[in-house]
């Protein structure tokens, strides 16, 4: 029964939404690549029991991503834990996973956080795994896996805190572009942990127009707005130990603090300014 349901789960897993040409605005240091290669080799050669082991290192297909998620989730053995100490939503997720009554969708999310060029592993993107109850279709949990397949962040849904629907990147770009008069291309999901917050499990949609990048920021409690990173806006690459509140940053990237401008991490310890785009007077919000 279990194998049948797993097979069904894999069959209904959405095809991995690989952006046609994933893009970013900062590159890792070439001299760090040897370190990342060593980490990748360690993941690929790790044995069960190792803190680096996943059954499908550096997965490239939804079934491989799902296999890595399930292995790591099941290895927590929450079924042995005191049920009263489980996180909200964990019992429902645990039961569904153990009984194989779940389905999955997997999408790719570009990593614009400091972990893109991390201290050990390079993770240009995350796989966002969405876990659904097969019978009801209710989304139980979302988790991000690094490009290596190693688990990163998990969040469970509850009746009080259901997930917001994940917007389709292409449709969002079209709607936003129509409202703002922008003809964009290359839409993709991004995670960013600046004050312009695109979180792991509810990422933003970003797209390009020429040398400019745009980030559409939707949030249930904050203002929905479009932000622009102009190709001409300076980039600041912090040296190890340098701080964002340094005079250097203030000189290179001065910014307003009224919420219309944000310091934007691009990964690779590189920062720039994202500026709010004003909606044309005659346009309706997307």
């Amino acid at each position: 029964m279990r194998s049948i349901v797993i097979l069904l789960s894999l069959l209904v897993a959405t095809a991995l939404r690989l952006a046609a040409d994933p893009w970013s605005l900062a590159e890792c240091q070439p001299e760090d690549q040897a370190k990342y290669d060593r980490f990748a080799a360690a993941v690929r050669s790790a044995a069960p029991g190792s803190t680096l082991y996943v059954p499908k290192p550096y997965p490239t297909t939804p079934p491989q991503v799902i296999a890595d998620f399930l292995y790591q989730y099941e290895s927590f053995h929450f079924e042995r834990a005191d049920a009263k100490k489980l996180l909200p939503g964990e019992a429902a997720l645990l039961q569904a996973v153990l009984q194989s009554t779940v389905t999955f969708k997997v999408v790719r999310v570009e990593n614009w956080t400091g972990s893109r060029c991390g201290r050990e592993q390079r993770s240009d993107f995350f796989y966002l795994v969405r876990v659904f109850d097969a019978a009801s279709g209710v989304e139980l949990s979302r988790a991000t896996l690094n490009a290596s397949g190693l688990l990163s962040v998990r969040t469970n849904a509850t009746s009080q805190y259901p997930f917001r629907p994940l917007p389709d990147p292409a449709a969002t770009m079209q709607q936003v572009g129509a409202a703002y008069g922008i003809k964009g291309d290359s839409p993709q999901y991004i995670v960013s942990l600046g004050t312009l917050f695109c979180e792991f499990t509810e990422p933003c949609v970003a797209f390009r127009q020429g040398d400019d990048a745009f980030i559409f920021h939707e949030h249930p409690r904050l203002a929905t707005a479009l932000f622009n990173i102009a190709g001409t806006t300076p980039r600041l690459k912090l040296k190890p130990g340098e701080r964002l509140d340094s005079p250097v940053r203030q000189a290179v990237l001065p910014m307003r603090t009224d919420g219309t401008e944000h310091l934007m991490p691009l990964g690779a310890n590189t920062w720039t300014i994202a500026r709010e785009v004003k909606l044309p007077a005659a346009a309706s919000p997307p």
Binding site: T51, L87, T113, R154, A157, F197, L244
Partner: protein
């Protein structure tokens, strides 16, 4: 409190770990945190990624002193999920 990428503050609220049957190591699995900007409470981050993301920590002086003691006691016996990193107790 933890800080991601020098800007984004989260409140740490716990985590999970286990003792590996084969190695006897304390394996630090995940950190539980609450993110004020998130639309959901109770997120967890794998311990290995926490070591990358958490650029700053805000802790009390007594916690800082205590952490040295904890590191002396457990540091060499701790492994980190999703990382090859090993803690080393401070040289005495």
């Amino acid at each position: 409190l933890g800080v991601f990428d020098q800007q984004h503050v989260v409140a740490v609220d716990g985590g999970n770990w286990h003792v590996d049957d084969n190695t006897g190591l304390y394996v630090w699995e995940e950190v539980l945190f609450h993110d004020p900007q998130s639309s959901h409470p109770d997120s967890t981050m794998a311990a290995g990624d926490w070591l990358t993301f958490n650029s700053d920590s805000v802790i009390s002086a007594s916690a800082s002193a205590g952490s040295t003691g904890f590191l002396n006691t457990y540091g060499g016996n701790v492994a980190v999920r999703g990382s090859g990193y090993r803690f080393r107790p401070p040289a005495v």
